[in-house]
């Protein structure tokens, strides 16, 4: 992919928070940027990769991305790594010691919290890491601030020789607003200084550095007090004052235009004296922070009386429709209600689905046909296998957890589960992110687990990014490609127990799964068809249903493909007297790409190739350019 010429400085751009962070990093002269894709942070590296004159990479996981960035910083280069909130859990081992060494070239860690949980397994507050690691935390409230604070973060990082955390939330990452970028700086790396006492963290070297870390934190506290990014705005009605950070700040300004609002862009260390001054000028102070009561707790410890989570929810976004009634209750002296009444649901739920012709459809259809299996799952599109109509995933915790948990399920089973087969399902990217170690643990410790390694050559859930299994780098250019069969063999799985299977061939997949689950040793079944959203996927001619032949058995519906639609439902009485529900179907031929999965369970052979394609769908076909 060729480098895109960036829009000129001082022009008005309509950018998302992620795009603004990318532009700011480029303007700050970042030399190295690394990330593992993760909603809502993914676009930061996607955008940066299109800029010229810097090195960008998808790393195999967030810990590696942080280490890559730290290495560049040690060379005196400016570096950035970006991740979603759970990514920083993975990277935290490096984080907790790089705070002891400090940094050379500006090092900015952008972490995006999924407040509201649009696409994550939990909702956690990354501001804790600033407290835990004694690192400054900056919190933009919109795209312009995302730009300004990211640029400032590099300056702060170099001034204090400290990594800086920029905390975003979904409502920053995926909101577009106006941004005016400034001039680009060109920053030449100063070079690596050999200094074992600083860079080699053994106890003797680390111990004398701990006081330096606390001195740095004290200096940062003073910087936060003086920071132009902590700004008093709003009105002059002293009935109520607000202290807030992140997107909640914009919500507060909108909901309470008459109240004084101290918005913290440089939120950790907290500028306690600035807050104390506001507190003494208003009757009541309210802390509005997403999601944990961090600042509130610190204010109370400092003797500053305030309201916070006594009147506001501890989870989700603090939008005006949440804030207004909460403040109204505070004014009237009413307590926080236990739970908000749910909005009336007038329409069926529409959960995310696997795509038309997704290779995972074959895997989950097959797994749903197996009895006596416990399925240890992982994180990716294939987590959707837990849902309708397959119900074929029993666990999902964290990246790569399917491996270790499957082993634990095997070793921990009692009489009740003695006959159960343990299957682990993991995608290619997740396997390389954090699953390989778990597989090694399974083979080393003689686990009895059948592993389904779903290799679709992409990080599917975040939009089909490349990974070591695709053999392409972040620019789509060819590079070393992992051979999963060889890798699994090297990790201790016997060669005879490693099979490659086409997930569109249901009988083969079923047979492989049945055989491997019967054998009491680790085995790996690799499925090898590409994600339908990437260029490797080739659509084939669509199918249709011959109405006269469809018996309404509904077998094809169990595949779970979104292109199969029910045209009418009937009830029929079998000769045995049993009443069965029938569902007659059609195939949306405009959406169908001919994977043939639905053809296989159709007993009356009612599904045939469509001769003419009739576009009926408003949804683009997989593999077609959007």
């Amino acid at each position: 992919m060729s480098a895109r010429h960036p829009a000129p400085a001082h022009s008005r751009q309509f950018l998302s928070g992620n795009e603004a962070v990318a532009r700011a990093a480029w303007d700050a002269g970042v030399r190295v940027a690394a990330a593992y894709p993760g909603t809502p942070s993914t676009e930061i590296l996607e955008v940066l990769a299109r800029y010229p004159d810097l090195y960008t990479e998808w790393s195999v996981n967030e810990k590696v991305s942080l280490e890559v960035a730290l290495g560049a910083s040690m060379m005196g280069a400016r570096a950035l790594c970006a991740m979603k909130h759970v990514g920083l859990n993975v990277a935290s081992d490096a984080l907790m010691t790089l705070t002891v060494t400090g940094v050379e070239g500006g090092l900015v860690i952008v972490v995006a919290d999924d407040v509201g949980m649009s696409s994550s397994q939990n909702e956690q507050d990354s501001r804790f890491w600033g407290r835990f690691a004694h690192l400054p935390v900056l919190e933009p409230a919109d795209s312009q601030e995302a730009y300004a604070l990211t640029r400032a973060a590099f300056a702060i990082s170099e001034q204090f020789r400290s990594a800086v955390i920029v905390r975003l939330t979904t409502r920053i990452c995926h909101v577009k607003g106006l941004v005016t970028p400034g001039e680009r700086e060109l920053v030449e790396p100063r070079g690596f200084d050999k200094d074992p006492a600083r860079w080699v963290m053994v106890p003797g070297h680390a111990k004398p550095r701990l006081p330096l870390m606390f001195e740095r934190e004290a200096a940062l506290r003073e910087a936060a007090e003086a920071s132009m990014f902590n700004v008093l705005e709003g009105g002059t009605d002293t009935e109520l004052g607000f202290v807030t950070s992140g997107p909640a700040g914009m919500h507060v300004l909108e909901a309470f235009p008459d109240a004084p609002v101290l918005r913290l862009g440089f939120s950790y260390p907290p500028p306690l004296e600035r807050i104390r001054a506001l507190a003494s000028s208003v009757k009541r102070l309210v802390v509005v922070e997403e999601t944990e009561p961090l600042l509130e707790t610190e204010l109370k410890a400092a003797g500053i009386a305030c309201h916070g989570k006594d009147i506001l929810p501890r989870l989700g976004e603090l939008a005006p429709d949440v804030l207004k009634p909460a403040i109204e209750r505070l004014r009237r002296g009413e307590p926080l209600p236990r739970a908000e009444p749910a909005a009336p649901q007038t329409v069926f739920p529409r959960p995310p689905t696997l795509c038309v012709a997704c290779p995972h459809l074959g895997v989950y259809y097959t797994l749903s046909q197996l009895r006596n299996v416990l399925i240890s799952g992982d994180i990716g599109c294939y987590t959707l296998g837990a849902g309708h109509p397959w119900n074929a995933l029993d666990t999902c915790i964290s990246m790569g957890a399917s491996m270790g948990m499957a082993l634990g399920m095997d070793k921990g089973r009692g009489e009740k589960d003695a006959n159960k087969k343990i299957v682990a399902v993991i995608g290619d990217s997740t396997f390389m992110h954090m699953g390989m170690q778990g597989l090694l643990d399974i083979t080393w410790n003689r686990g009895n687990v059948t592993i389904l390694l779903l290799d679709n050559r992409a990080v599917g859930m975040t939009g089909g990014q490349d990974n070591p299994g695709s053999g392409r780098d972040i620019h789509g250019e060819e590079t070393a490609r992992v051979d999963f069969a060889k890798l699994c063999e090297a990790l201790g799985v016997r060669r005879e127990r490693i099979r490659k299977v086409d997930p569109y061939e249901l009988p083969t997949l079923f047979k492989a799964l049945r055989e491997e689950t019967r054998i009491e040793e680790p085995s790996v079944i690799i499925t090898d068809r590409p994600c339908v959203l990437i260029g490797d996927y080739r659509p084939t001619p669509a199918y249709r249903v011959i109405d006269d032949k469809c018996t309404g058995c509904g077998n094809c519906i169990d595949v779970g493909c979104p292109a199969i639609h029910v045209t009418r439902r009937e009830q029929a009485t079998k000769p045995s007297g049993k009443v069965v529900d029938l569902a007659f179907v059609r195939i949306d031929t405009a959406a169908c790409t001919g994977c043939g999965l639905c053809v296989q369970p159709c007993a009356p052979e009612a599904i045939v190739h469509a001769r003419t394609v009739q576009p009926l769908s408003f949804v683009p076909r997989p593999g077609s350019a959007a």
Partner: protein, 202 residues
């Protein structure tokens, strides 16, 4: 303050082009010099899930989110989705909806019912609804993905923006990215606008 802000909520499902359509509406508002914010929750919604895109413009926009009961216009790219989000409208505000249906596996699997007539259900809630068969118009034009432009044409006379500004924003995007589709999109825009005028007159 908020009285000066226009709130447009666009809804549909992943893959329909809801975000792109809202982006074009945003570009039109930007070209008139408004402050603009646009937000949506993507992530898993690209897998056939629900997508809503919030567009707010005015003198100065702070919060990017439209609160329930404050949308000035609801644009539904799918009939049942339009019904799902009616509660977001302010009193007296109306709905522009595609009559096209996308039935998810969860309904085909028999676990839930698709509403018999979502458009009638919206009207029964006391809302003025302009129903457009954007999918059929797009099909008649020979390219199903034109549904997006048909919807933008249909919406144009329901916005506090001059029609030519939005049309220019739509066409500018195609002139830049897919010039061979320019005439077809102009036609789709006009057809959508005409269809909407008919439902408004009815």
């Amino acid at each position: 303050m908020s009285a000066a802000i226009t709130n447009i909520l666009v809804c549909g499902i992943g893959g329909q082009g809801v975000m792109t359509a809202t982006e074009i509406l945003a570009e039109a508002a930007l070209s008139l010099g408004f402050d603009v914010k646009k937000t949506e929750v993507a992530g898993m919604s690209q897998r056939g899930g629900v997508v809503t895109s919030h567009l707010r413009f005015g003198e100065r926009v702070r919060s990017p989110q439209i609160a329930p009961g404050e949308a000035d216009l609801l644009v539904g790219f799918e009939a049942a989705e339009a019904l799902r989000w009616v509660h977001m409208l302010r009193p007296g505000a109306s709905v522009l909806a595609n009559t096209g249906r996308i039935v998810p596996p969860i309904v085909n699997g028999g676990r839930f019912d698709y509403p018999d007539d979502p458009i009638a259900a919206i009207a029964a809630l006391g809302r003025t609804v302009h129903a457009i068969d954007a999918s059929t118009i797009a099909r008649e034009l020979g390219e199903i993905r034109l549904g997006n432009t048909v919807m933008l044409g249909a919406v144009v006379d329901h916005l506090p923006l001059p029609a030519d500004v939005l049309e220019a924003a739509v066409l500018e995007r195609f002139a830049r990215r897919k010039p061979h589709l320019l005439d077809l999109n102009r036609e789709a825009f006009t057809r959508g606008r005409r269809a909407s005028a008919r439902t408004s007159a009815a």
